[in-house]
Chain length 224, copies 2
Amino acid sequence: MRRVRRRGLAHEAADRIRESILDGRVSPGSPLREVELAASLDVSRGSVREGLAVLEREGLVRSEWHRGARVMDLRSRDVDEVYTVRAALDRLATLSAASRIVPAQLAELESLVQAMGRALEGDADGLTLIALDLAFHDRVYAIADNSRLTDAWHGVRSQVRLIQLTRIEHDQAHYRDLLVGEHHELVRLMSRGPSEALARAAEEHVDSARRALIHLLGQAPRGR
Amino acid sequence: MRRVRRRGLAHEAADRIRESILDGRVSPGSPLREVELAASLDVSRGSVREGLAVLEREGLVRSEWHRGARVMDLRSRDVDEVYTVRAALDRLATLSAASRIVPAQLAELESLVQAMGRALEGDADGLTLIALDLAFHDRVYAIADNSRLTDAWHGVRSQVRLIQLTRIEHDQAHYRDLLVGEHHELVRLMSRGPSEALARAAEEHVDSARRALIHLLGQAPRGR
DNA sequence: TGTTGTCCCAATGTCAACATTTGTACATCG
DNA sequence: CGATGTACAAATGTTGACATTGGGACAACA
């Protein structure tokens, strides 16, 4: 049996605040005041504070000494950073997963890809596609079964989600073209075990999204 | 001017506790009681609590609900995870740094390598070598100039430090053979810009250390 | 004798009050 | 009139007290 995990109010508070950010109810840049949140969540400031610390390590929130916390405002440079790191993590996750994956897990991934296909044909909204995309990659990280790797992934995951949210119209176009094809190819390569081709595909899968986003956001983020 | 960074008691407390762990004054597995620490550091339990949360995100401390925090006890499996993730991060950091590095920074890295050589000839203790090794890689991450990457690095850095500490006699042997040579080679390759050879060297630099540690610790950590 | 239930204590989780800092508006001075 | 200093309000940082939980010792029971 999987033992129940009791987490306390701080994590609960973090979940609620994360939701309201990722649902777009509070926009990037807006302040997250401890007293306000404590009142609206009906917990003490201490718990809110601890929850905000959780969100800060996820990169969703930025806080400064005696100046409080604000919803992270992700600019072009930040998108570049997040996707660059994600590419490196995904490369490792995909390779590790490929060396440990069993047929049942391959089938599970493939069924997620098919769900993407159905969602596209059914003209599903962007949120559904984003959810399926993240679910796929979450599964890959779970299969890789490396808690440090998962922690590092969680350090950028929420930011990826936030970027996708704010660029949702773009993502829909991007998804429509490549979502099923690229993921299917990843599964196919994973079924053959780790390889240089798989490593490249995993990196490229993320990097093409990065390039598209950077292009969309206007200019090169750094002095390249 | 680099503006001063005021951080509050929680970070100060985290620093002190981290020191006592990394200095070996508290051994892996031992409990870190909030009241004890609060008394000995002369701050409130709240600040200690926040400090322990910082150390938890660094992977130095593991805490469970209503059961308190303990110094992380790193077993074979954990060493494997940490070094596997570190290899992926170092690969990216080294490639990114290579594409941005300027001559002055190359010289700085090379001078660190020479310091390693002098330390080895002067029969310095293991702690000095560990410090120089980490200083070198910290510089590479700083040159890569990607805050998400640096955050991810900080998520494993302290654990690397802890592993090196507990295996210090082994590391000295490992260092004596490869320290100067491998780092010098990394600098040389970086001076020529990013390349597949550099990527492999950076990965292999970490992975050889991983293999040596795993071998030392006895058995294969996972079902490979 | 092994198992179950109860009590108790130590430690953490939570809270609300107090202290400190920051930013701003306004007064003061050169 | 611009620069500097001061007072105040709003928010966070810090603290000690109270509530809740987990684990172990011990007794009751089959």
